[in-house]
């Protein structure tokens, strides 16, 4: 595919310029005048209740009101998507790709407004909110190019008297079940991959971020995706379960927790009466990511990168760093500097450019993470201060040093701003620890030895290994993203193989010999 050569990532907003920050704050103020956003029920749906989203830094601020979809709504949505499949899949690839590119253009026009929406609805600090919008645009552009390439089929060996072709075909309605932590980018990737290859989609955004999901759908519809080819289904668990189990669904693209992912894989494997296909599942499910620090590492670089990896967006990324495995010789120096760097972090509302990290997503997350911290009650820790009395869902960024391996904080995914630092005798020991972990998503290595870097890279211990840099912030096209073991099923999002999961290959072999002549 030539995708890589023509694709360019959408440039981030240059917030270091005062004028750009001022524009962003104006966009935020403007958005505030329109709150709460009202997301109407999809036509034909019979939503029973309402789904509300709030600003995590100020839960009194209502951001959006959306229908709380039911199982019946899910069924209705699937029926529409199924009906739309024939005509959408019949379009030529170029038309669908152009539609995605138009949608990318529409998102581009609303960059500031959409970033502001993420700031308010997901509590994403500005640079990360903007990066998420950029990534959404990137996915649309990248998969548009990828679909055009895929449409060429594959070249097969040809013998005299035989013409062989291979083409890719859409499969049917897909369910996209998306998380709140990358509320536009992740669904943009999953939805557009399914759509551009000719499938139709029922998309259920996370219950915490319906407005972000709606903004994406709006762009795709305005760009020309038929209303029934992409149906927005807001709601909580009930409609999601119905989508997964329903016989009309051909594929499920999911990003979220490991428990939910495994449940989906299990449920999707049970064929329903009348179902004449095997459902495919792409599940991207989390991690317990380690950064290995070799004895020759440059701590001036390692410390800020670890801080960013562990505490960016309050650690609520599946790629976030949870454990540091540091070689004994420099463990004390690293831990001391990490501790000091954490105390210098500023925690506050996402809309404040001066804050390094903001809230966690909601009260439930707050309680869950606090339970981890309370469970480690007797362990010494280093924390930064958090705002008090604001009602915001703040968790102090926390470092634990030398926890016993049995500790829950060392073993389980916390999905919050909590980091554990452990000593290892060597890089090899650290590698073993990574390999023995349940997850295999991202990982980091700080080393200045070319051989160590080469050695660890070749082992392929995680899906995305980052060397001498932070371990989050994968860029579409440049850093195809996704992991193995319990982290997910693959293939890598934003990589050359991703679209293949959404299609079926069919080949034709034609005999071109007539009366002994090749024609």
């Amino acid at each position: 595919m030539s995708t890589e050569s023509t694709f360019r990532n959408e440039p981030a907003l240059e917030f270091r310029r005062e004028s750009v920050r001022a524009q962003a704050l104006r966009a935020l103020a403007e958005l505030r005048t329109k709150l709460p956003l009202r997301i109407g029920p999809a036509s034909g749906a019979s939503a029973s209740g309402e789904l509300l989203s709030y600003n995590p830094a100020n839960p009194a601020e209502l951001i959006a009101v959306a229908p709380d979809g039911s199982a019946a709504d899910a069924r209705a949505a699937l029926v529409r998507a199924d009906a739309a499949f024939a005509s959408w899949s019949a379009l030529d690839a170029g038309t669908r790709a152009a539609t995605l590119q138009r949608a990318a253009g529409l998102l581009r026009e609303r960059r500031l407004e959409l970033a502001a929406l993420e700031v308010l609805e997901a509590g994403k600090p500005w640079p990360e909110a903007d990066a998420d919008v950029c990534e959404a645009i990137d996915f649309l552009e990248y998969y548009a190019l990828g679909a055009l390439a895929l449409d060429q089929g594959r070249l097969l060996p040809q013998l005299p008297g035989e013409r062989n072709t291979l083409r890719y075909y859409a499969r049917g309605p897909h369910a996209v079940i998306a998380p709140w932590n990358f509320p536009m980018a992740i669904p943009a990737g999953m939805v557009s991959a399914a759509l551009v290859t000719g499938n139709t989609v029922v998309f259920k955004p996370a219950e915490q971020t319906p407005a972000c999901g709606h903004a994406l759908v709006q762009a795709l519809h305005s760009a020309g995706v038929p209303e029934d080819a992409l149906v927005l289904l807001t709601g909580a668990d009930e409609p999601a379960r119905e989508l997964v189990a329903h016989p009309l669904v051909h594929g499920i693209a999911f990003t979220g927790s490991c428990a939910a992912g495994q449940h989906i894989i299990h449920a999707a494997a049970q064929a329903q009466p009348g179902q004449r296909h095997v459902k495919r599942v792409i599940a991207e499910m989390g991690g317990k990511n380690c950064i290995i620090v070799d004895a020759d590492a440059d701590l001036d670089d390692a410390v800020p990168a670890i801080i960013k990896s562990a505490f960016g967006f309050a650690g609520q990324k599946c790629s976030a760093a949870a454990r540091v495995l540091v070689c004994e010789q420099i463990a004390d120096a690293l831990n001391e500097r990490l501790a000091g760097a954490i105390q210098a972090l500023r925690v506050g509302p996402a809309e404040d450019f001066a804050c390094d990290l903001a809230t966690v997503i909601d009260a439930e997350a707050l309680a869950r993470i606090n339970a981890f911290l309370d469970g480690a009650e007797h362990e010494p820790r280093v924390q930064a201060e958090v705002p008090v009395g604001t009602g915001g869902h703040y968790v102090p960024p926390t470092l634990f040093v030398d926890l016993p391996p049995s500790s829950r904080i060392v073993r389980e995914e916390v999905f919050g701003p909590v980091l554990s630092s452990e000593r290892v005798a060597s890089v090899d020991e650290a590698v073993r620890i990574v390999q023995e972990g349940d997850f295999g998503l991202t990982g980091g290595l700080f080393s200045r030895s070319p051989q160590t870097i080469e050695h660890v890279s070749r082992l392929g211990i995680v899906g995305n290994l980052y060397v001498n840099r932070e371990i989050t912030g994968a860029m579409v096209g440049r850093h195809p993203f996704g992991g193995g073991r319990l982290s997910g099923t693959g293939p890598k999002a934003g990589g050359p193989d991703y679209l293949l999961t959404f299609v079926e290959a069919r080949s034709v072999s034609e005999n071109t010999v007539r009366h002994g002549l090749v024609i």
């Binding site: 240059e14 001036d300 500023r346 001066a354 030895s449």
Partner: protein, 453 residues
């Protein structure tokens, strides 16, 4: 004086400076480094892979806890470079031979350390004292810069502030005994302190944020305030360096805000840096000049004009984010703009502002242009200060002193760990294809080097 006449004067000045470079008898220009290093630099300029290998070695050198570690790293770097570099292959074979291994490491380690000492005046001000006074005796004044690891924590910021305090005191004390020197100590605006410290605001606080410059204002305020008070008390000059663009707003805002306080109305003399390689540097200069006009102080304000030391960083950062590079990407435009800013600074001084222009460069053309233009304006010779880096600009400093102009040598002090990062940067600068010094090393004709950019 018209353009052509000025050009002629620039060439004369340049020729005179070139003649003053020690040992300018080798046809081409003599490189400022010693003969062995000159040979090494020349081979590095022509061999980018070997260059990368050696720089990576210099970089990791202080993190190697044993000789075995040193050897391992050196061999690995050379081996990696070996694919495209015959020199590196030969060297790799040497380091790979077991019986040579430890001595090689020792030599390599020492080589790096001695190279570092060429650029770094000593562990601290005390250790550098003999060097500083000998520079003074040779007719060169100094400014000290404290090398250190990055400041990532409050205690690191506090430690750096303490080092600044100690250094200011040590400088004031040691320089009291230096012999008087009219050119180095006075200009038309008044006395010039002998004690001169260059401070990095990013080392004072872990709170510099590109997206929130106001954060540094509260975080670094107290420490910088104390340093300004001490400088005033000791009658020393306090300069703030400029770093990557991400920190410019914090540094400028903070420094100007403090200097505007009543308590600093009459001192200390202070200064800031203007990086000419930034495409918006003229706006920045106008902002500084505007501020000066609105805040007349008793003590003159120095603007040190440099090209800028973070060129690669700025270009890479911008490319990775998809931004337009904030720096000139064409060498000649960068130099042309530098000359434009030089003229703007000297014009402002000639217009009567309490401004001390300092032209910091190793480029004879840039220096000669400043001298010629300053003369053309009819400014007194002491109105213009020229500055160079220790190690890179030693011969240039000698030539400027011989010319009878004031030259200030920027002297970094610090330990080996901190020194390596600085050394790598200076070596890269010195061997980059785009550098004046590299051209000088490879023996380019002086007339070409003095050509108008």
């Amino acid at each position: 004086m018209d353009d052509a006449q000025l050009e002629e004067r620039v060439h004369e000045c340049g020729q005179r400076l070139a003649a003053g470079l020690a040992g300018a008898d080798t046809g081409g220009l003599r490189h400022p480094l010693a003969a062995g290093e000159r040979r090494m630099m020349r081979s590095l300029i022509g061999d980018p892979r070997l260059r990368a290998a050696l720089f990576r070695f210099v970089d990791v050198r202080p993190a190697c806890h044993s000789r075995t570690e040193l050897v391992r790293h050196l061999s690995e770097f050379l081996e990696e470079a070996g694919a495209g570099s015959g020199n590196a292959r030969r060297l790799a074979r040497l380091t790979g031979r077991r019986e040579l291994t430890l001595p090689t490491a020792g030599a390599a380690g020492l080589g790096v350390a001695s190279m570092a000492h060429r650029f770094i005046a000593g562990e601290d001000a005390q250790a550098a004292a003999p060097e500083l006074s000998s520079l003074w005796e040779q007719g060169r004044c100094v400014t000290l810069d404290l090398l250190g690891e990055a400041t990532l924590t409050e205690s690191e910021g506090e430690r750096y502030a303490q080092r600044c305090t100690q250094t200011l005191r040590a400088l004031a004390q040691m320089s009291a005994g230096w012999a008087p020197n009219q050119l180095l100590e006075h200009d038309g605006l008044g006395p010039l302190p002998r004690a001169n410290l260059s401070v990095k605001v990013s080392a004072l606080t872990p709170h510099l944020r590109a997206n929130a410059p106001e954060r540094a204002l509260s975080a670094a305020r107290d420490r910088l305030l104390e340093l300004l008070r001490l400088a005033r008390e000791l009658d020393a000059h306090l300069h703030v360096d400029m770093e990557s663009l991400d920190t410019r707003e914090s540094i400028t805002e903070l420094f100007l805000e403090l200097l505007a306080l009543d308590e600093f109305a009459d001192g200390p003399p202070a200064g800031i840096v203007l990086q000419g390689y930034l495409t918006d540097s003229e706006e920045q200069l106008e902002r500084l000049l505007g501020w000066l006009e609105q805040h007349p102080r008793g003590a003159p304000f120095t603007i040190r004009l440099v090209k800028g030391a973070y060129w690669d960083h700025e270009v890479v950062l911008a490319a990775q984010h998809g931004w337009r590079a904030p720096v000139f990407t064409d060498r000649r435009s960068c130099d042309r703009h530098y000359e434009h800013l030089t003229r703007r600074l000297l014009d402002a001084r000639a217009g009567g502002m309490a401004l001390r222009p300092a032209i910091a460069s190793h480029n004879l053309r840039s220096l000669a242009h400043a001298i010629a233009y300053s003369d053309a304006l009819g400014l007194a010779p002491d109105a213009l200060e020229l500055q160079v880096l220790r190690g890179l600009g030693d011969d240039t400093a000698a030539a400027i002193a011989t010319y009878g102009r004031r030259v200030r040598v920027y002297c970094p002090v610090g330990d080996l760990v901190a020194g390596m990062a600085y050394l790598v940067r200076r070596l890269l600068e010195n061997t980059s294809n785009d550098s004046f010094l590299a051209a000088q090393t490879t023996g380019a004709d002086i007339n070409l080097l003095l050509e108008r950019p």
